[in-house]
Amino acid sequence: MIQIEKLRKVYRGRDREVTAVDGVDLTVAEGEVFGVLGRSGAGKSTLLRCVNLLERPDEGRVVIDGRDLLSLRGAELRRARQGIGMIHQHFGLLGSRTVAGNVAFPLEVMGVPRAERARRVAELLDLVGLGDHAKAYPSRISGGQKQRVGIARALAGRPKVLLSDEATSALDPETTASILDLLRDLNRRLGLTILLITHEMDVVKSICDSAAIMRDGRLTESGPVPELLARPDSDLARGLFPLPPADPREGTTLVEVTFVGSVADEPFVSALARKYSLDVNILGGAVETVAGERVGRLQLELPGDPSLNAAQLAFLRESGLTVTVLNPATPEEAR
């Protein structure tokens, strides 16, 4: 649904250049929620603004629903934008218009007749649960309600794609959760494809099917969330399941175990302990439901040096777990 190829955006100042987006490739499948996670300044906001050409990229391609946006100009581009919803961190609502007036705005831009507009506004406000606040001005409603107005407005043109620019970053945790639920619900009910950027790990955890991590204008990892979490070297996994620092004690083997899906239901730790009569020590870990799958990461301490635990490690790997030994590699272990 969204294809971004070799995207580059450079800001040229008087005496310096900043490459905000540095060769990004990204594909968002139809009906998917895709999250780009990164710190502020990583270039994710610029990336998103390049998708509907609020910023014109210097290089690369942006294809949405089969249309190459960079080939469009003027009225054609404006029409294409009407089919792409966008929500903003600070909502971007018109303070001089009521809630209903704000939702009507894109319909006016699209040239929808007045009667039809009123009907559609009511429908959209019901969809986001704001039917009672149609006549209120934005300054009179809460942040969460403002974002609901933003969402209703973004959906006015029945878009297939919704772009979300840090939509929950200005909201408290509970409101964030309710907005994320709403987005998830719209994604399922309307088949809406959502590309969101965020600096909040929780957003990725609660609603994203796929994710990418952005750093210094580049995507350092990208893919379906469960797959990323299963990779031991993934920053996403590390961020989502923080574990104690790897500091193996003398005569023990410290391992990190990552498991995804049905494996999480198997009592593998006790199976391991029973089979090899081991005292397994759990130093840290977490199990969460991410993108509808149970995902976990544990740090285990087994008695004996790694060289003595080869069979035990093999057992864990055969159980379908991703296992990483955290002991510094000894010469014979490095092979």
């Binding site: 509907n52 609020l54 581009l77 404006r78 029409r79 294409a80 934008r81 009407q82 792409i84 966008m86 903003h88 600070h90 909502f91 971007g92 609502l93 018109l94 303070g95 001089s96 218009r97 705005f105 894109p106 006016e108 831009v109 699209m110 001005y137 934005p138 300054s139 933003g150 407005r153 043109g157 772009l163």
Partner: protein, 218 residues
């Protein structure tokens, strides 16, 4: 002079002041708004970026604002004659009043438009709005309270300028104050005109504040 002699002078002078101010305000509001919008949209990164045009407009506006009104009034007499056919009287005063107030209001319009949240403009852009829609439905509409407050300040400045209309044979309260109050030491005329001017200014400010408040949805 007794009060009975003063009062008949006051009424026509008040009408003159109100007419000159009113007509000049009308033209200033329209042309100043246009110039202010141009100043904002032509700047670098604006809706219709044209930095050279922006610089020229900015220069013209600032030159216009730096001329003392009295000098401006005399300097543009040929222009005034071309526009209204005469260089003497109230009509002749309205031309320089308008010319002097336009750049003043244009800068105030510029300030008001800059106060509009750029996020709202970006949102309108993302919705596929045209430049015309963004100027009309977003910038001007969102800036309405500021535009009204700016116009209030401009009207009051115009009332001040009308005091100099006498220089080109115009009337008004200011002229009355100069001719009778100042030059003939008629203290009663001076007191009466000043009192009337104060009342008019206070009324304009009160109306401006009221309208601006009605337009603010906070």
């Amino acid at each position: 002079m007794s009060w009975d002699e003063v009062t008949p002078l006051l009424w026509p002078a008040t009408v003159d002041t109100l007419v000159m101010t009113g007509v000049a305000t009308l033209f200033t509001a329209v042309l100043g708004l246009l110039l202010g919008v141009l100043l904002v949209v032509t700047e670098r990164g604006g809706l219709l970026p044209a930095p050279p045009v922006n610089r020229v407009l900015g220069l013209v506006v600032d030159i216009g604002r730096s001329l003392p009104f009295l000098i401006l009034m005399v300097a543009i007499i040929p222009f005034t004659r071309a526009v209204v056919g005469t260089s003497i009287g109230n009509a002749a005063a309205i031309v320089p009043l308008t010319v002097g107030a336009i750049p003043f209001y244009a800068r105030l319009v510029e300030i008001a438009l800059r106060e509009v949240d750029p996020g709202v403009v970006a949102a309108a852009n993302a919705m596929g709005a045209t430049r015309r829609e963004i100027v009309g439905k977003v910038l001007l509409r969102e800036a309405r309270p500021g535009l009204v407050s700016g116009l209030t300040v401009t009207v009051i400045a115009l009332i001040g300028y009308t005091a100099m209309a006498g220089t080109v044979g115009g009337g008004g309260l200011g002229n009355l104050a100069v001719v009778y109050g100042y030059e003939r030491f008629e203290t009663k005329v001076m007191v009466a005109t000043v009192a009337l001017l104060v009342v008019i200014v206070l009324a304009v400010q009160a109306i401006g504040d009221l309208v601006a408040r009605r337009l603010t949805h906070k």
